[in-house]
């Protein structure tokens, strides 16, 4: 089938039956979740995971993508109306959004956020489609050593660079990999870390561990650290679309936001938050009226909101082409694949083309659905934002227990969610990276089986990883990622000592 035939089939499958309702539900939940401070996009997606058990894989993926897209917009609602970012990525939006609300233009700010976010999201999906298909054709030639080297490189890069500390990030990633070794070893059938328990033979439950690390830990954090008092809502509960003139006015900022979102998205380890800050600063730098920024500039809303939606397409490029998720949200998409028995990895497009094309079509649809759903759901968001924080926390925790239990009717799942909630809390407090652990969890089985398979092919000769050019290059780059921060630190300390020593010498 040609590319367009496959995409058309994807659209047919994405529009099938109740699919559209489920997608709209996903977008609606994403917007509400994003609007509630304390529930980030990744947490909203993790909480939606149990609801995907009953769905087929493509519908589940598109629903999660809808939650993701919705949360990007939802975060801007409390940012504009209450000066509280609903998600970390919506923090730059409050600078001008709240100023606009104070000037009585909240509805306009919401309209700009919704329309520009949709534009950014849609363009990024088209770029995603344009990049993933050719990349998939290159990756298809990869053998076991290349796949192992790729997994190792992706893990090192993301775990090392995305956390607050390089070493802690790497250790967190290794911890995630280690978790995947629990259970029956797929190659030899030996039992590992099961402590004689039959219910551990299938290993840790990826979904429960993920929900524990992202959502339970966040709820425990909100309980252990008393929340700040909720702000008051400024402005009206309506959305006003920008006029053509205003769209022209924010055109440059929207363009910058899209480009920044795409680039930051494709770069592994950097997510929506980084993109919206960079986009805000770049839009101010290139603006014809930079003096308005911080005082209620429409461009100041358009740029970060376009960027954090455009990240979605960018993030999915390494996720779908290489099996290496570019962010927490992308890692949850891969976990949903595992849940439905599909092994994420570089061969996703070759082995499951119909799934990938349905996801492409679904991504275009959910971004289009953002506008009607966003308009309808605004009032509900305002109600959710006014909920007592403890009511929200208690409800989410109860939802997590029943949701993780519902998957296999297995009590060990909520227990795992609880245990990893406590571990996740500790990791957050002590500066380890839960995101890196989740990445290890998603990549672990693939990394180990491909490494051992390579050594079976080479009869135990380790040089197989270095004699093949692609694998050798990837491993060399991995080494570079490992050595680079140590070199930089040594250099910085040497310089600061020289500066400190210079006056003393005089």
């Amino acid at each position: 089938m040609s590319f367009f035939e496959q995409l058309a089939a994807g659209f047919a499958s994405a529009l099938d039956g109740y699919g559209i309702l489920i997608r709209a539900g996903g977008v609606a939940w994403g917007i509400i979740g994003g609007a509630i401070p304390g529930i980030s996009g990744a947490v909203a997606m993790a909480l939606a995971l149990p609801f995907t058990y009953a769905l087929d894989a493509p519908t589940a993926l598109v629903m999660l993508a809808g939650v993701w897209a919705g949360a990007n917009y939802g975060g801007s609602i409390p940012a504009i109306l209450m000066r509280i970012p609903g998600t970390p990525a919506s923090a730059p939006c409050l600078l001008d959004g709240y100023e606009l609300a104070k000037q009585g233009r909240a509805a306009k700010a919401l309209g700009i956020s919704l329309i520009c976010g949709t534009i950014g999201g849609l363009i990024s999906i088209f770029v995603l489609i344009a990049l993933v298909v050719p990349l998939g054709e290159i990756v298809v030639r990869f053998g076991s050593p290349e796949v192992f080297a790729l997994a190792l490189f992706g893990l090192t890069l993301i775990a090392g660079l995305s956390g607050p500390s390089f070493l802690k990030g790497i250790a967190s990633g290794f911890f995630g990999l280690l978790l995947t070794t629990v259970g029956l070893d797929s190659l030899t059938g030996s039992m590992r870390f099961t402590f004689g328990r039959a219910d551990l033979l299938t290993g840790v439950d990826t979904i429960s561990v993920m929900i524990g690390l992202f959502a339970v830990s966040e709820m425990f954090f909100l309980i252990a650290h008393p929340a700040r008092p909720a702000g008051t809502v400024v402005g009206t509960a309506t959305t006003e679309f920008p006029t053509l003139r205003e769209l022209r006015e924010v055109g440059r900022a929207t363009f910058i936001g899209t480009i920044v979102g795409l680039i930051v998205g494709i770069m592994p380890g950097a997510g929506a938050t980084a993109s919206s800050f960079v986009a805000y600063n770049e839009a101010r730098r290139w603006s014809k009226r930079p003096e308005l920024f911080g005082k209620g500039s429409l461009e100041g809303v358009a740029a970060p909101e376009t960027a954090n939606n455009a990240v979605q397409g960018g993030d999915l490029v390494p996720t779908l082409a290489l099996g290496i998720p570019g962010s927490n949200s992308a890692a949850i998409i891969l976990a949903a694949l595992i849940l439905h028995g599909i092994m994420p990895g570089p061969f996703l497009l070759t082995k499951n083309p119909e799934l990938v094309y349905t996801l492409f079509a679904g991504l275009i649809l959910v971004n289009l659905l953002m506008i009607p759903v966003g308009l309808v759901i605004l009032r509900l968001c305002l109600m959710a934002m006014k909920l007592d924080p403890p009511v929200l926390i208690a409800s989410v925790l109860s939802l997590i227990v029943i949701g993780t239990y519902a998957g296999d009717l297995f009590l060990l799942n909520p227990i795992q969610a609880l245990v990893f909630g406590v571990i996740g809390y500790g990791m957050r407090i002590w500066g380890f990276s839960a995101a890196a652990t989740v990445l290890g969890l998603v990549l672990g089985v693939l990394a180990e089986s491909e490494m051992r398979r390579s050594l079976i092919i080479s009869h135990g000769d380790w040089s197989i990883f270095l004699t093949r050019p692609i694998s050798a290059t990837l491993l060399f780059l991995t080494l570079g990622v490992l050595v680079y921060p140590a070199l930089m630190t040594a250099l910085r300390r040497w310089r600061s000592r020289r500066v400190a020593a210079a006056p003393a010498a005089k």
Partner: protein
């Protein structure tokens, strides 16, 4: 014949050694460069809305929330969802302490019913009913 040269032991051992090495390096760095800031990832995703705005840590609330959740999970199958959830929600509200009295009276029941209906009738999941099994009209 093709054989698995590494066996099931190698990968966990290698990872464990890796984590141990990271730990030793962290400890060494702490001892050698005490007080100097650690190397943050250049692409660190932490926004300004970080932990600084959160309130001070309360061990009682933290332990209370974990204990309440552990009890809830333990009682979930034997007592069923409908009997365990309202007391659990009320417990979390009390431990948190920030809820209004009205919320304390209404939320445990509303949340329980909404989640029960969603899972039992919406997603058709056989939610455990505990001693209520057979007594419920459905």
């Amino acid at each position: 014949m093709l054989t698995d040269a590494l066996g099931p032991r190698f990968f966990p051992m290698a990872l464990g050694s890796g984590i141990l090495l990271c730990g030793l390096l962290l400890a060494a760095a702490e001892l050698l460069f005490r007080g100097e800031p650690s190397v943050a990832g250049p692409l660190s995703d932490a926004g300004p809305e970080g932990d600084e705005e959160a309130g001070p840590f309360s061990i009682a609330r933290f332990v209370g929330a974990i204990a309440a959740t552990a009890l809830y999970v333990a009682a979930f199958e034997p007592l069923g969802y409908l009997l365990t959830t309202p007391p659990y929600i009320a417990a979390i509200l009390l431990i948190h302490g920030g809820a209004r009295t009205r919320a304390l009276l209404i939320a445990p029941f509303v949340t329980t019913v909404v989640l029960y209906v969603t899972f039992r009738f919406g997603l058709l999941i056989p939610v455990p009913d505990g001693p209520l099994e057979g007594l419920l009209p459905w």
